[in-house]
Amino acid sequence: MSEDSKDERPRRGRRRGCRFCSEGEAVIDYKDAQAMRYFVTDRGKIVPRRNSGACAKHQRAITTAVKRARAIALLPYTN
């Protein structure tokens, strides 16, 4: 009974898959400063996987991209 209700609970606004895995939707490019802002918080920290919804592979890609963007001053280290 309780299990059933658990299953039927609507998932509100939660993405299931990694949006970088589904092709053509989003690419990770450290040179695109504007797009890179989605991957950091307003304090300049890298957005965690639970928030970014990325799979392990693409979260690694995000991490390196953010670090590269920081090195050439496209993103701040701190904000």
């Binding site: 400063a33 090195a71 050439i72 001053a73 496209l74 993103l75 701040p76 280290y77």
Partner: protein
């Protein structure tokens, strides 16, 4: 990124972004470009793409500069090409930052004949003498008096327990100051930026 042996007739593909000091003249910028072109030629590399990104705001100051001129180049070559380019970039003090990323490990050189005529066009959207928009000035911190006033406000607000509106109004007022002071000699600006910087660090510690 394995360090596997490079097959004959193959090369690695790299991209390098370097940031020039703002407000350079054309000769200084082109000097860097020719140095890179020579470095690539001297190590049997091949320049395939060169893009002038123009002046951008830096996310954080580098060598006290708040803006920088970005140049992007893409080329084929071996490790020695990269080390020669980076050596040249280190030698020139007009370059304040550079970064090289390997894009592909094994690219056949045969299909890629282009590149010889790719030159870096610095005249494209080159804007000399753009006033530096410093963060300090953006926040209205470049003039000490307003900052002191603000500090007093903060104390008062803490006591009054209702200070948000007052603070914002102050911020607006100082923004007006910033605009009025914008057209000034660059040296004076830099000196000011230094001042505020030292003040800030003093306050933090």
């Amino acid at each position: 990124m394995s360090r596997a042996q490079l097959a004959p007739g193959h090369a690695r593909e790299y991209e390098t972004i370097y940031i020039l000091r703002p407000n350079l003249d054309k000769d200084q910028a082109n000097d860097v470009a020719t140095r890179i072109a020579d470095a690539i030629k001297g190590t049997e590399g091949m320049l395939t793409e060169a893009e002038f990104w123009g002046q951008r705001r830096l996310a954080y100051p580098i060598e006290r500069h708040h803006r920088g001129t970005y140049v992007y180049i893409k080329y084929l070559g071996r490790g020695e090409t990269v080390s020669e380019i980076e050596r040249q970039l280190r030698l020139v003090d007009t370059v304040i930052r550079y970064q090289t990323v390997q894009l592909a490990a094994n690219v056949p050189l045969e299909g890629r004949e282009a590149g010889e005529d790719v030159t870096i066009d610095y005249e494209l959207e080159y804007q000399p003498d753009e006033p530096e928009l410093t963060r300090e000035r953006e926040l209205g911190l470049d003039t000490p008096p307003p900052e002191r006033r603000r500090r007093d406000d903060r104390d008062r607000d803490a006591k009054a327990d209702e200070g948000k509106d007052g603070d914002e109004a102050k911020a607006d007022a100082s923004e007006g100051d910033e605009k009025a002071e914008a057209p000034k000699a660059e040296k004076a600006e830099e000196a000011k930026a230094e001042e505020t910087k030292s003040e800030e660090s003093g306050g933090e510690s």
